[in-house]
């Protein structure tokens, strides 16, 4: 074995070059795939964009029988249901993350982490079926109670009117349950990276636990937390089957969160089977719109993260 002198330099150069090449290829594949998806979908959606123009995004009239395709109601439904999901899920998720990292003693941490992560592996169709067969019928009466309670109160009255069990809000609640484990486990990881020195320093200055979290953990984890929330948002916007089952499939734009609506992924899933021609193009157009929206969300997220990183480095 040791007879021939090892040519370490030569070997490592070859290995290095191979690695470099493989890494570049892997990186390019992602870009190429993204590019191809964007090009193919845009071409196939083109007839709808051409026929409808801007009204594809601004019109609420989705009438395949008459060849008119205005997707505003679906864009609106996606935004509203995701927003409800974030409002409900973010405080809970960050609460869970703080609970696990700061409150629970280290030796009982594991079971909590495990349970929360378990929530993430439940298939979305299960959430959808649970939503439609148990949650929606149950919450219908609660909606009516809330609607009656806020009747006459400006703003609230229009937000929480009479509605049905299958609604924007029901979809939002189901989505919130689905994105909570994603946001909380990412938030947990981020919070865990807070340097112990900074935390101890805060305690050393006489801070309470909450003051320590506010003064040491949050400033450090801010960027990562925003990233975690944005990932949750991305998941919520793209969720198809669970939303399709509980949102009610009614193409309307209304302030009433308890009314039935529809979202982009949901309408694609529901109407794809019978679609052809411009109808199909319009559905693909919605997919392109969703694609662009998720990219914008992700870019916004990374910009926010980048900025807060720069700020905290500067400080």
């Amino acid at each position: 074995m040791a007879t021939a002198p090892l040519d370490l330099t030569g070997r490592s150069q070859t290995a290095d070059r191979t690695f470099r090449w493989v890494a570049i290829m892997a990186g390019l594949v992602v870009l190429v795939v993204l590019g191809l998806i964007a090009i193919t979908m845009s071409t196939r959606a083109w007839p709808a964009f051409r026929d409808e123009g801007w009204s594809f995004f601004t019109s609420n009239e989705w009438a395949p029988a008459e060849g008119r395709f205005g997707g505003l109601a679906f864009i609106y439904g996606t935004v509203v249901s995701s927003a409800i999901a974030l409002v409900l899920a973010v405080p809970v998720s960050i609460g869970i993350a703080l609970f696990i990292t700061q409150v629970v003693p280290a030796r009982v941490r594991k079971p909590f982490v495990y349970v929360v992560d378990l929530l993430a592996v439940i298939p979305s169709v299960v959430f959808g079926l649970w939503g439609i067969s148990i949650f929606a019928p149950w919450i219908k009466d609660r909606y009516d109670t809330v609607a009656d309670a806020v009747d006459g109160v400006p703003v609230l009255e229009s937000l929480f009117g009479q509605g049905s069990g299958r609604s924007f809000f029901t979809a939002g609640v189901i989505l919130a349950i689905m994105i909570t484990p994603i946001i909380s486990s990412l938030a947990r990881e981020v919070i865990d990276t807070t340097p112990p020195g900074e935390m101890e320093a805060a305690y050393g200055l006489g801070a309470t636990r909450w003051e320590m979290i506010r003064g040491a953990v949050f400033p450090h984890a801010k960027g990562g937390l925003v990233g975690a929330v944005m990932l949750g948002l991305g998941r919520a916007m793209g969720e198809t089957i669970a939303v399709a089952l509980v949102i009610g499939s009614s193409a309307q734009v209304t302030a009433n969160l308890f009314a039935s609506g529809d979202s982009m992924p949901s309408v694609i899933a529901n109407q794809w089977g019978e679609a052809d021609g411009t109808f199909k193009a319009a559905l693909i157009g919605l997919a392109v719109t969703l694609f662009v929206m998720t990219i914008v969300v992700n870019m916004a997220a990374s910009a926010i993260v980048e900025r807060s990183m720069r700020k905290s480095r500067g400080a």
Binding site: V30, L34, I37, M41, W62, A63, P64, A65, E66, P137, S164, R166, G223, G224, G227, M230, L231, G234, R235, M237, G238, E239, T240, A244, L245, G248, S249, S250, A251, Q252, T254, A259, S260, M264, P265, I268, A269, N270, Q271, W272, G273, E274, A275, D276, G277, F279, I284, A287, L290, F291, T294, I295, N298, A301, S302, V305, E306, M309, S312, R313
Partner: protein, 399 residues
């Protein structure tokens, strides 16, 4: 350490974006379902030669004997072999599944797969020659025909079934509805069950003042299309017609209707909601135990949705030369006015003679023995005249 973090989050973000795109376009192949199971290979020399020799006499036999259906095809089913993949309409899926299972018993050499993903998907797959046969509740538009890569094709009608107006109203076991009233209900112009329009259709029936909840399909569907064709035809052709939402597999319903996934989803909404009403296919309405309304037909008679009334509708239907027809708003005293036909599409030119023979065999079987199977799973058989024409069309496949 710190400088690395944004990059890793960026990478994560990129991956999610990709995942979402996949989720968004993932529906493209949902329900493609043509899971190709390997055909049991029963290839021996005798079977092969038998297939070649019996193919020709079989077709002539089918053409000449048109009166006695069961005796018509003297096809040696045992000699057929190959795999036939089909996809399309969900409406006849129960019948096709049963027919495929039964056909397997008479023709063990043929494996047939059916993936129900909607009529539109069935037509698309068939046009692209992804499948050997397509199933559709709707007719191919004239301008789309050049896109069919296999060239000329035939429509083979297989079964028909009524679409019921199912309702949930305590104390009312017999309900009669005229098309105009149905149109008003589904356009939310009538809000309560004791509306004068409903009362006028039901003299002597005490109707409660329960509010009406309308259930429709969330997914696009041939059932919706046939229902809207009925309403459109029944409303006639004038400026003030009762039905304003046109025809289509997706209807722009007014806000306030409840949408359910599939026939079973609509049936569930009706069942769960006091005062609910919806259009549901016959077998789901029966399975869910819903009450169904008698609908006023073109002859002015109220007819309950039954398989006999559906076959009666088909007897009076005008059958086009290509075997397409509509059962909506059919003539005849006994005809139920809302019924859906469904077709199998097959190319006239099929390169593989074994495949052509197998497809002819399967379709011949569906039109003969298969018809007797239909009522057992809540589909109505074709009337004799249509069945004969369909058998004649089958022999042009692969010829």
């Amino acid at each position: 350490m710190r400088s690395r973090k944004p990059r890793s989050i960026l990478a994560l973000a990129g991956i999610t974006a990709l995942g979402l795109v996949a989720a968004a376009c993932g529906d493209d192949d949902s329900g493609a379902g043509a899971t190709t199971t390997a055909a049991p290979t029963t290839t021996n020399a005798a079977a092969t030669t038998a297939a070649a020799t019996t193919a020709a006499p079989t077709t002539t036999a089918a053409a000449t004997t048109t009166t006695t259906k069961a005796a018509a095809p003297a096809i040696d089913y045992k000699s057929l072999k190959g795999t036939l993949n089909g996809s399309g309409a969900t409406f006849p899926k129960a019948f096709y599944d049963e027919a495929i299972a039964e056909f397997k018993k008479v023709a063990p050499g043929v494996t047939i797969n059916y993936g129900a993903g909607g009529s539109g998907k069935g037509r698309q797959d068939f046009a692209d020659q992804v499948t050997d046969w397509g199933a559709s509740d709707g007719v191919v538009k004239a301008e789309d025909k050049p896109k069919y890569k296999g060239g000329d094709f035939v429509y083979i009608p297989t079964v028909i079934a009524p679409i019921t107006i199912s309702y949930n109203l305590a104390g009312v076991d017999k309900l009669q509805l005229s098309p105009d009233t149905i149109a008003k209900i589904f356009q939310l112009q009538i809000k309560t069950w004791n509306d004068p329009a409903i009362a006028a259709d039901n003299p002597g029936v005490k109707l409660p003042d329960t509010s009406i909840t309308v259930a429709v399909r969330a997914d696009s569907s041939g059932t919706t299309e046939n229902f809207s064709i009925f309403l459109d035809l029944a409303a006639g052709d004038n400026a003030t017609k009762a039905w304003a939402l046109k025809r289509g597999s997706t209807i722009q319903w007014p806000a306030g209707v409840q949408a359910g996934q599939g026939n079973s989803g609509v049936a569930k909404v009706v069942k769960d909601t006091a005062g609910g009403i919806g259009y549901v296919d016959y077998s789901d309405a029966k399975a869910t135990g819903l009450k169904t309304a008698a609908v006023k037909n073109k002859a002015g008679k109220f007819v309950a949705p039954t398989l006999e009334a559906t076959t009666a509708a088909a007897e009076g239907a005008k059958i086009n030369d290509d075997l397409t027809f509509s059962l909506a708003w059919a003539d005849g005293d006994k005809a139920y006015p809302i019924a859906a036909p469904t077709w199998i599409l097959a190319y006239k030119k099929i390169a593989d003679p074994d495949k052509a023979a197998a497809l002819r065999g399967f379709l011949t079987w569906i039109l003969t023995d298969g018809q007797k199977l239909a009522p057992k799973i809540d589909f109505a058989p074709l009337p004799g005249a249509v069945d004969d024409k369909a058998l004649a069309a089958v022999k042009t496949i692969g010829a």
